[in-house]
Amino acid sequence: MSDRPQPETTVPADETPVVCPYCGFELTDDKQRRLHLGLEHYAELTDEEREAFKETYTQEETELNRFRIVALGGLVALYFGFLVVYAVLAV
């Protein structure tokens, strides 16, 4: 998984990227860097970096759960929305 060629990046002139120390890949912030490190360079990481990755990953899980609830709400709204519209219009 590591050592695969990273995609090409372009950074807007007024922003400073966070750079991966292992492959030079440019990332937008520290959270993205921690995730990138864990996903691409796990074998080479120090214990501290691994810990940071795991923590960020778990934290991401909470955010994802929040997103899933919204997505589920969206699906339900979409489904019942169409159900009602069909019930009214397509007799």
């Binding site: 995609p7 372009t10 979409l78 397509a90």
Partner: protein, 467 residues
Amino acid sequence: MDRRRLGLQAGVGLAGALAAITLLSEDVLAHAAGLRDAGATTVDVPTWLFLATGGGAVGASFLLASFVTDRVFIRSFHQWGGTLPSPGRIVSFITRLTGISLLLLTVYVGYAGPPTGFRNFAVVFVWVVWWGGYVASTYLVGNTWPTLNPFRTIADLLPTIDRVYPDRLGAWPSVAGLLALIWIEVVTPLADDPRLLASMILGYGAVTVAGAVVFGSEAWFGNVDPISHAFSFFGRFAPFERTAEGISFRLPGMALTDPDLVSGRDEVAFIVCLLYVTTFDGFVATWLWETFVVSVVGFGLPPLLVYFVAYIAGFGLFLGAFWWSLGLARRYGETYISQEELGRRFAPSLLAIAVGYHLAHNLAFVLGLLPAVAVVSAAPLSPPQQPPVLAGLPGWVSGLEMALVLGGHVVAVWVAHAAAYELLPGRLEAIKSQYGITLVMVGYTMISLWIVTTPIVEPPFISGGGP
């Protein structure tokens, strides 16, 4: 671009789409029809609701895909597969011979056979068997065109000059070539006039063979020839693919996330073009286009110019929409990955849409004309006066067509989702990067469903037919 401006852009787009839908659906019922008069049936819901349902289904598939966030699980779908032994030389030889024989027969009967469209073997063979049926095989089974392609077989028999193909041109010539081919198909009666069709095949063949002789087969069929290029992309959707080791098999569409599938912006443009040309071909046969072109030509503009400007502008619009969605992917995906690179990785998902659309467009057409194909092929030089056609296809065929258009979009949503998970470190960001692409796909679903179901009119001013 800040969040507010973005919301504004999306809002304006959405409002525009809604206005267009309401405008288009003035007590018109959705006609679930096939291609060009193949048995129209009526769905009993207002058009706008029908289109919104299609768009909603694509949006829902994005929401559903967002529940799948396990990278290993996603990858397992895309990596499943194996390898079968390669077919022997004898099979290749027979395939090449078949390609050449069919080419000779088509051109000969095109000139010598009856002059009416669907009584002539050339027209029936090219449009029903080759364009409808064979093209479907390139994405449903595998791309056999490199072997079957008679022009490639001929070119390989001739000595090559091996001039170096200029790298800076990339695949751009195939974009121009595809635009040119479909332009000719739209504005000339290629589907009705067997003599013209035969001349067109000879002309295309001469250019192709000459090009392959000058630049070598690999360079020509890989970069310039639009048909080979299109089929090689369709072949990447197919479950079977010829590789150096033999014939590899994957789940259909799952090879579309391979990182090296698209080489640069030239090929991104080609894939967008592939999707665009089928849309344009359908769009000129709608009443909306008829109304527009008749009124514009009323101001004294030459009809062909109007067609041409609209053709190129539409392509620009498609490219622009895709590029815009990539900008959103970069922004919401919290990434510095360049828009071009994102385009390279997300463009293959559009192939799934093109596949669904091609299948939906040609299914009823091919099924309906199969008896004609059989009868005309049995006696190419003296076909019956009225080749038989299947008049009434069962109602579920049109339902199946809608399902195919939607199915293509659903696979596309999944492929883009999987590509985002390969590219972006953040799982939530990977989902959010799909906002723009999903919006564009929802819009495109509604446009294509509208085109497929709206009653077909003869495009005005071209192919000898006036309004």
